[in-house]
């Protein structure tokens, strides 16, 4: 946080000696409040008590953006979110950075910024920006959300000829003790974590707006340096976390289609023992939506996740005495969005799930032969300005 503030002040006053004070009318203020509800039948969804029904599912944010010079923008967004036992409505700095656009082909950012991963990572908390309530968790997981979300550091970006654009970021992942990654490992190790930090993250995004109007292709990913989680039972180190995603999107008028495919490699160890050794996760989804009227849009999606692409039937889980159904998740979803006004929306959504990845009930609670099919209902309303 101190480094972020220092970088912002340096950009404001060190690089731009002619910057002048400006009045409040030059600051844009925007905000949003989202409140949701989750209810599942047999299992709890991620970190929530959705089997009983839960309102612990919300996001709130407010941002301030100013452009004190023609090519320089400065902004900060404060945010609070809750999803079960993650977030807990703690107010955090969601992003805060300065952005200097030297030329169309080169801009420089410094501070805490969202990571350009996939089509939706940067806006994953912005309910008003999409049709569905829940993004495909195969590509945008809640468990390692903190790994994906932001970078505290520097970035270069720009647009190039023939519809190309790029962004590269380097810095560290701002990890928090209330994140899903920490909570999940605390549950698995039955302990309370003391500290979590990361060495570095390097991320990249390349996008091509093709000559076919509305069709874009993208390739993005990131590489994490060591992530260390300190607990009374020892230090768990994630020594490798590399993720790559290919994206395709087509938007024409009220119709949109998008699909993404991800490969993720992870290794971790604790007290010299290998917990994961180059495990490769494989995931993909496809979704489409159409707006039938100014006030109504419907979307359909199908998502698949294999935590270990070399074990798609869950055999390795069975060898550990865990039901094989933890080896995958397949999610068929139908989403509806009602735009009550330009500032207020309501969404209703259903997920038919097969496979238990994404549930947080301990395997010992499941019995020897748990049902592999389950259902999740989600509702959400959002106000934004």
């Amino acid at each position: 946080m101190k480094k972020t503030v220092f970088l912002l002040f340096t950009l404001c006053f060190g690089l731009f000696p002619y910057a002048h004070a400006f009045n409040m009318n030059q600051i844009q203020i925007h905000g949003f409040i989202s409140q949701g509800y989750l209810k599942s039948n047999d299992y709890d969804f991620w970190n929530t008590s959705s089997k009983e029904g839960t309102f612990q599912f919300n996001e709130m944010g407010i941002n301030f953006i100013a452009e004190p010079l023609d090519n320089f923008r400065l902004g900060i967004q404060l945010m609070s979110r809750d999803l079960g036992d993650a977030g807990n409505n703690k107010v955090i700095i969601d992003w805060a950075y300065g952005d200097y656009r030297f030329r169309n082909w080169l801009g420089i950012k410094a501070g805490l910024m969202k990571r350009p991963y996939g089509l939706y990572n940067q806006s994953r908390d912005i309910d008003a920006a999409r049709t569905e309530i829940l993004l495909p968790t195969s590509i945008y997981p809640e468990s390692e959300r903190a790994f994906y979300l932001g970078t505290q550091g520097i970035a270069v970006y720009g647009i190039l000829p023939h519809g190309l654009s790029y962004e590269f970021q380097y810095g560290i992942v701002p990890l928090d003790m209330d994140e899903g990654f920490v909570k999940r490992n605390e549950r698995m190790m039955e302990t309370t974590a003391q500290d979590v930090h990361n060495d570095y993250v390097f991320s990249y995004s390349l996008k091509w707006e093709t000559p076919l109007e509305g069709l874009s292709l993208g390739f993005s990913g990131f590489n994490l340096g060591d992530v260390e989680l300190e607990t009374p039972k020892g230090k768990m180190v994630t020594t490798q976390f590399d993720t790559y995603v290919g994206s395709i999107q087509y938007i024409y008028d009220d119709f949109s289609f998008s699909a993404e495919y991800k490969i993720e490699k992870e290794s971790s160890e604790m007290r010299g023992l290998k917990l994961l050794d180059g495990k490769e996760l494989e995931a993909c989804y496809a979704k489409t939506s159409y707006r039938f009227a100014e006030w109504f849009e419907i979307g359909i999606g199908y998502s698949v996740l294999y935590p270990d692409k070399n074990d798609k039937d869950g055999a390795s889980f069975e060898e550990m005495g865990i039901p094989a159904v933890y080896g995958w998740n397949k999610d068929l979803s139908v989403s509806t969005r009602f735009d009550i006004s330009d500032y207020w929306i309501l969404k209703l959504e259903g997920h038919y799930m097969n496979g238990l990845v994404g549930t947080t009930n301990h395997p010992s609670e499941m019995g020897p032969d748990p049902s592999e099919d389950w259902f999740l209902f989600a509702a959400k309303t959002t106000f934004s300005f």
Binding site: R73, K114, Q122, R130, G214, S256, R291
Partner: protein
Amino acid sequence: MKQFTVGLLTIIAFSSPAFADVIIIANKNVPENTLTREQLREIFLGKRVQWSNHDKIHVATVKDDDGVYEIFLKQYLNKSHAKWKSYWKRMVFTGRGVPPKTIISEAEAIAYIAETKGAVGYISSEGIQDESEPVVKIIKIK
């Protein structure tokens, strides 16, 4: 001269195939006389922020009651109002941009673009004023 100007603008307005209803206009200091559709899209989506002389691009959208806003979105950006709105919410709530200035009448749009260096916007062909010395320039889209 007045009749020639009106006639010329009428010819320009009605000779461009497909997009005769909406004309792209810019401040007279803008160096470009033509833009590709890709460049125009990049400008209105906040991705292209400088003209070729490195002046900042100030974008204005007209949201009047005559429907030129919807025609512009559909014909030049292939977006509905809902998609346009969602796009700018994504940009604003990730700090990557601020929405274009919204102006509620074509007359105000012409005045704003005429007096703002680097400004660009759109109006209907009927919105072009009958003047001997046009206060804005028309950008041709190729």
